[in-house]
């Protein structure tokens, strides 16, 4: 059996095996689940070594003489002290380092990610030569109104009482409605992508796998 046909058959069996979970969790899906987790765990180790440690750590340290890279595993291994009650604080020390850098990265990303979204909201609210009043209202006015009402939904510390609060409450309700419209639209959008993936699998099963047995299938739909 050639590598190609072995791969083809393995892939077909695996695909059908995974689909059994649609009926319910069962012995077949269970064994494929464990194989999947096992393969990805093995692959993770290979990947971490081949794509990360070998090139970034082992080679500089051993082949280029950069001896100070030895501190990296020492710091990394501090994580393992979570299993020792006495030395636990050292694990917390390195966790603290990662917590701090997680914050630091968030600070750094704040403007690159959010500022285009902020200035993207600066929509002119009046018509000019390039855009008529109809479009301005249908686009820019609506945009600003939805943005503000949705944001008003995310105010947590203001009671929806009193004159201002009641208006905020109404705006928040409207904002929630707009959110629901957005969620519906996003759901629909995604439906297409998910169906494409399934179509790809059925094409594989019908055209490639069944087609390798019965040529008629290989010619359909492509």
């Amino acid at each position: 059996m050639s590598l190609e046909s072995a791969t083809l058959w393995a892939a077909a069996i695996v695909t059908l095996g995974v689909y059994t979970i649609l009926y319910r969790e069962n012995p077949i899906s269970r064994i494929f689940e464990h194989i999947f987790v096992g393969l990805s765990a093995g692959y993770l180790i290979v990947f971490i070594w081949a794509q990360n440690l070998e090139g970034k750590w082992w080679k500089p340290m051993v082949h280029e003489g950069k001896w100070y890279w030895i501190f990296a595993p020492i710091v990394g291994l501090l994580f393992y002290f979570i299993y020792s009650r006495r030395l636990l604080w050292m694990a917390r020390l390195v966790m603290g380092l990662f917590f701090g850098t997680a914050s630091g990265y968030f600070f750094r990303q704040f403007f690159p990610i959010f500022s285009p979204q902020i200035y993207g909201c600066f929509k002119p609210l009046r018509a000019d030569a390039s855009i008529g009043w109809g479009d301005v209202i249908l686009h820019n006015w609506l945009f600003v109104i939805i943005l503000l009402t949705v944001l008003s939904y995310f105010f947590f510390a203001v009671p929806h009482e009193g004159r201002f609060g009641r208006n905020l409450g109404r705006s928040a309700l409207l904002g929630r409605w707009f959110l629901m419209i957005a969620f519906g639209a996003m759901f629909a959008y995604t439906a297409m992508a998910r169906i494409s993936l399934f179509i790809g699998r059925v094409q594989f099963l019908l055209n490639d796998w069944l087609g390798s047995l019965i040529p008629w299938f290989a010619q359909r739909g492509t």
Binding site: I21, R24, E25, R30, F32, E33, H34, F36, V37, L39, S40, A41, Y43, L44, F79, Y80, I82, L88, A91, R92, M95, F98, F99, A102, Y105, F106, F107, F110, F111, S115, P116, I118, Y119, G120, C121, F122, K123, P124, L125, R126, S130, N140, V144, L147, L148, L151, F154, F155, F156, A157, V158, P159, H160, L179, A182, F183, G184, M186, F187, T190
Partner: protein, 266 residues
């Protein structure tokens, strides 16, 4: 057009003032001011959800999603820590699964710590905090397997979720669990809405720990967040006014406010 490799003075000032406001409100709150937080239904449901598992005598499942140690998962951990304390008091088992090896030790440690804080250190089982695997769909399948075999009565999905969200939540629903989900990313929210009993949307996710614990530090932070959001709104309104006067994104040359936000320091 300059880049955003570094902030310019305007960004630094805006960022600095937002940080300052949040920190000052935290410090003021720690002095003991009573704070109001509006009702967030998804978060009210957490107690009910744990209670259901207790009544049925079945475990609770918690997934932290795919990210390693990031701000999103640290918030998930804060919510988890509350849920663990609740479960420990009710003597309900909780199984936690992560897809990040880096997050795993932090998770194990904070779950153990939550059990200790609830005065039930003996209830902690290392086996119940699990690293499943870093591959997205292997993680999803692994989690579905855990939910099915452990017969979990309640599933919580808090953290950074991507396409696997629907695999987790739809299978969990089919297995008959009560589900509560929360995720700051808007993209996965529709699927959680379609499959979970309660969903925490957007910033409600970051308000969760304040809402649940009512700790002064956190509620104070929430007030600061509201003020910071008001600043952003004001900025947008000013931006819209300026754009109406001199032109929007198409005429960047005229719009000074836009330039301040679009180009960093050179």
């Amino acid at each position: 057009m300059g880049g955003l490799e570094h902030a310019n003075w305007f960004m630094s000032a805006l960022f600095g003032s937002m940080c300052l406001i949040i920190v000052v409100s935290v410090l003021l709150a720690q002095r003991g001011r009573e704070m109001f937080i509006r009702r967030i239904p998804g978060l009210n449901a957490i107690e009910e959800a744990v209670g259901r598992a207790t009544e049925m005598g079945r475990p609770v499942f918690f997934s932290t999603g795919l990210h390693g140690i990031t701000i999103v998962t640290l918030q998930a951990l804060a919510i988890l820590s509350y849920i663990v304390k609740l479960a420990a008091v009710h003597a309900t088992r909780i199984v936690v699964a992560t897809a990040s090896a880096t997050l795993y030790p932090v998770l194990e440690e904070s779950v153990r710590e939550a059990y200790t804080a609830a005065d039930h250190p003996e209830a902690f089982r290392s086996e119940d905090v699990r690293f499943v695997t870093e591959e997205q769909f292997a993680y999803a399948m692994g989690c579905v397997g855990i939910m099915a075999r452990e017969q979990t009565a309640t599933n919580f999905f808090f953290g950074a979720f991507f396409a696997e969200s629907l695999i987790l939540a739809e299978n969990g629903r089919a297995l008959g669990a009560l589900q509560v989900a929360g995720c700051p990313d808007p993209v996965q929210i529709p699927f959680f809405i379609a499959t979970c009993d309660y969903v925490v949307i957007g910033d409600e996710y970051y308000a969760a720990s304040a809402y649940l614990t009512r700790e002064p530090t956190l509620t104070g932070s929430l007030i600061g967040q509201d003020i910071a959001k008001a600043i952003l709104i004001a900025l947008v309104i000013v931006g819209v006014v300026v754009a109406s006067a001199v032109g929007g994104a198409d005429s960047a040359t005229n719009n000074f406010l836009l330039n301040l936000l679009a180009s960093g320091a050179q």
